[in-house]
Amino acid sequence: MKNTFFFLLGFAIMSYTAHAQWARLDLPSGQYQDIFFSTEKTGFLVGDSGMILKTIDDGVTWRKIEIETNAHLKSVHFPSENVGYIVGDSVFLKTADRGKRGRCKEKGNFGE
């Protein structure tokens, strides 16, 4: 009984460690504002200066989508897998093909 107690105590002492629960993503410099995943693997990050990043591997890697605007982008939402919207300061962007190409009500394009 005594040996069992010390074995369990020793196991608890030697094995107990806590891991941090949040990790900062290593992304291109900028101020990011919003994120949305249109599928399990495909997601979009938006931020200042027209920044749009897209992932197709569940956030492991992110690739910048070039658009013709430097507006501060504040929110992104995909009501379906194909159709998405991005809004920002005086700019409203829409894509109908998963972010491959896009149209903008004011200026710029939301596409690759």
Binding site: A12, T17, W22
Partner: protein, 291 residues
Amino acid sequence: MGSLRTTDGGQTWTLLADYSDIGIVDGHFTHATYEGSFVRSLDSTKSWENIFSDVSLPTWFMVVRFADSNNGVAGCGPGLGLGQAGFVHTSDGGKTWHSLVSSGWIGQSLKDSSGNIGKGIIDICFASSTIGYALADSKISTRSDFGILKTRNSGTDWTFLRVDTALHFYSDENSTVYFKNENVGYIIDGKVFKTTTGGEKTVSVQQPLLKTFSPSIYPNPFKNSARIKLPENFEQPQLRIFTTAGDDCTHTFKSQFSENSFVIERKSASAGMYYFTIESKGKLLLTGNLL
């Protein structure tokens, strides 16, 4: 900040009103929030009625989200400083709402050290019908590592999750919380942070390098202070102390390293059992317990 409505798939949009957010449940039951009131529409946003106008309760609604067709929460703040920060909750699809402002922490620290009033609850995301997360303006807490809250019962109760202060996460009215599922989520304050553990710590088995070392701790049990002596010299050893629940409580102890030993003194830590780890260059050297 305004809300726009489209009925043609986003080809054209019309301005509804100066709402801060819209929540949709069952595809047709829509709520909107804005400073000073809380309204809903039952006719596809053609008309709105005020459903929550008790002036003694929060008056600054930043966000509203539904966990399912019945349960929803709206995050609110102190507005002009007359109310308190917290949540209002519905369990009947939005027909009736009640305030959660009297719960625990809420309303206790609405101002930062400069006297700025926090915005209260600024974003909410439900990962499932029961699990949800909310971001609180960092200014409503005196501690910067308390910015995110979690509910496990569809928004009825909320508890703060700790965020490592080393990450320098500071939420404000532009910050975002987004969870893909119950475990994988993101918080954004300009920087982007990701969790794969539901925002909570995980505890795993990790074998220390010094398997045969028996920590020299004297006295143990200790009353006010104790000395942990290392078996050999290590470069920049780091001491971390945890509760039995796995929470990092190093800050509740004062520690000094000299002569190959850590001398720890109890600050605000209560009596009980604690685990500690000592790492060097990111590698776990040894573990032990304190009483």
